[in-house]
Amino acid sequence: MIEMKNISKWYGSFQVLNDCTTKVEKGEVVVVCGPSGSGKSTLIKCVNGLEPFQKGEITVNGVSVGDPATDLPKLRSHIGMVFQNFELFPHMTVTENINLAQIKVLGRSPAEATERSLALLNRVGLSEQAPKHPGQLSGGQQQRVAIARALAMDPIAMLFDEPTSALDPEMINEVLDVMVELATEGMTMMVVTHEMGFARKVAHRVIFMDEGRIEEDAAKEEFFGSPRSERSQLFLSKILHH
């Protein structure tokens, strides 16, 4: 479904991604972890072309992301993305947030879009919040709305960029619960996160990144059993025991 071959990216002379190659199969849940500044977020943003890359090739469902001829808006409308800071549109109500792209990009009628939005809000447990503005919601609620907004586009895959990093601890689980549910339903997911509990529960593979490189790319059992690289062992010991 998502295939990356030898991706390299530079900010000026600084190399943020160094020859990254990996794959996400249909229905697979891949967790990307690593220390901050290791390029995880950049890598995931390359998948839907939010970040341009200078070398290598990424294909999503056979469509090349880096190809200038690719209709990026169309490609992106098939890939859901959830951001660290939620990025709900503050000037719209919750329903309007979820409706916007359904109407403007997918061409659904306002009635059809609203029906879908309300169904999704119900699914993430936020039916009562529909007429409110994002500013009136807690962080966890905002992130669940953001997930609903992405799901409204009927995506073939979902990208999560540190979806729980900006949340207060007591709100992390309500977001993770929604993500676990999605994963068990068979959604293709690529998740940048430090939540190793989530990775243990639903991930199929874990990718460990450091200094722009993919240091480890292994099945979950293998990764948590005996990580091969020293860096990932060190990293795991740091985030698992505290």
């Binding site: 839907n48 939010l50 990026l72 169309k74 990025e87 792209a101």
Partner: protein
């Protein structure tokens, strides 16, 4: 203190002054609307990564901002008719008249200032908002129209209005092309009746009251919108 003054002249000339005020307000609003529209386009051009777009827009803004307003009005009033004659080859071609000269001059002049305000406003919208809009499959136009500009304008309303108040005062310059705005009307009555002190005091009072009230409203808006987010 005011013996020898004749404040009756104000009451006698009120209908005429009112006409002038209607003109002033009309010109202010039209050039403000035009300036904001053009300024938005210029701001988008300046923020574009394409040199073909951002260089001309940058040049335009810098040129207009380094030029006295009165000179811009003269350009349009005196030079545009000459240009039209040259281009059309018709020696008797008409200019665009003083009103349209003034309107275009104000619009283009204000656009340069609005451009900078709007550019800052657009940049004040967090990058993540743009990314979120793109990630949903919105194209550049939709992302701007639905996500970025509505937020940018909300942040900018106070400063856009402040610029409008300055424009309202600047429109008094139209007397140079023979148009009669509020200031011009007051001036004409003052000259005709020899009541300079009375009329200019009155004009000053009217400008002060209108601008002061408007600034006050802007301040209240500022408070309201800064809490809103």
């Amino acid at each position: 203190m005011f013996t020898g003054f004749d404040f009756d002249v104000i009451q006698r000339s009120l209908p005429y002054l009112w006409q002038g005020m209607v003109f002033t307000l009309g010109l202010t609003m039209l050039s403000m609307a035009g300036g904001i529209f053009l300024g938005t386009l210029l701001a988008l051009m300046r923020l574009s990564s394409s040199r073909i777009l951002n260089l001309p827009a940058g040049g335009y803004v810098n040129l207009l901002r380094s030029t006295p307003l009165i000179l811009v009005i003269f350009w349009f009033y005196f030079l545009v008719p000459i240009a039209i004659k040259k281009i059309s080859g018709d020696a008797y071609a008409q200019g665009i008249g003083p009103f349209y000269s003034a309107l275009i001059a104000f619009t283009m002049f204000e656009a340069a200032y609005y451009c900078e305000i709007i550019r800052a406003g657009i940049q004040s919208v967090p990058r993540g908002q743009v990314q979120a809009a793109y990630a949903l499959g919105l194209n550049y136009r939709l992302a701007m129209m639905k996500v970025v500009l509505p937020q940018a304008f909300r942040n900018m309303i106070p400063i856009l209005l402040t610029q409008g108040i300055i424009l309202f005062q600047d429109t008094s310059l139209v007397y140079v092309v023979g148009l009669t705005d509020f200031m011009g009307a007051a001036g004409k009555v003052a000259q005709r009746d020899g009541r300079l002190v009375e009329m200019y005091l009155f004009a000053a009072l009217v400008y002060f009251l209108l601008c002061f009230t408007a600034s006050h409203i802007v301040k209240r808006l500022q408070v309201r919108y800064s809490v809103g987010r």
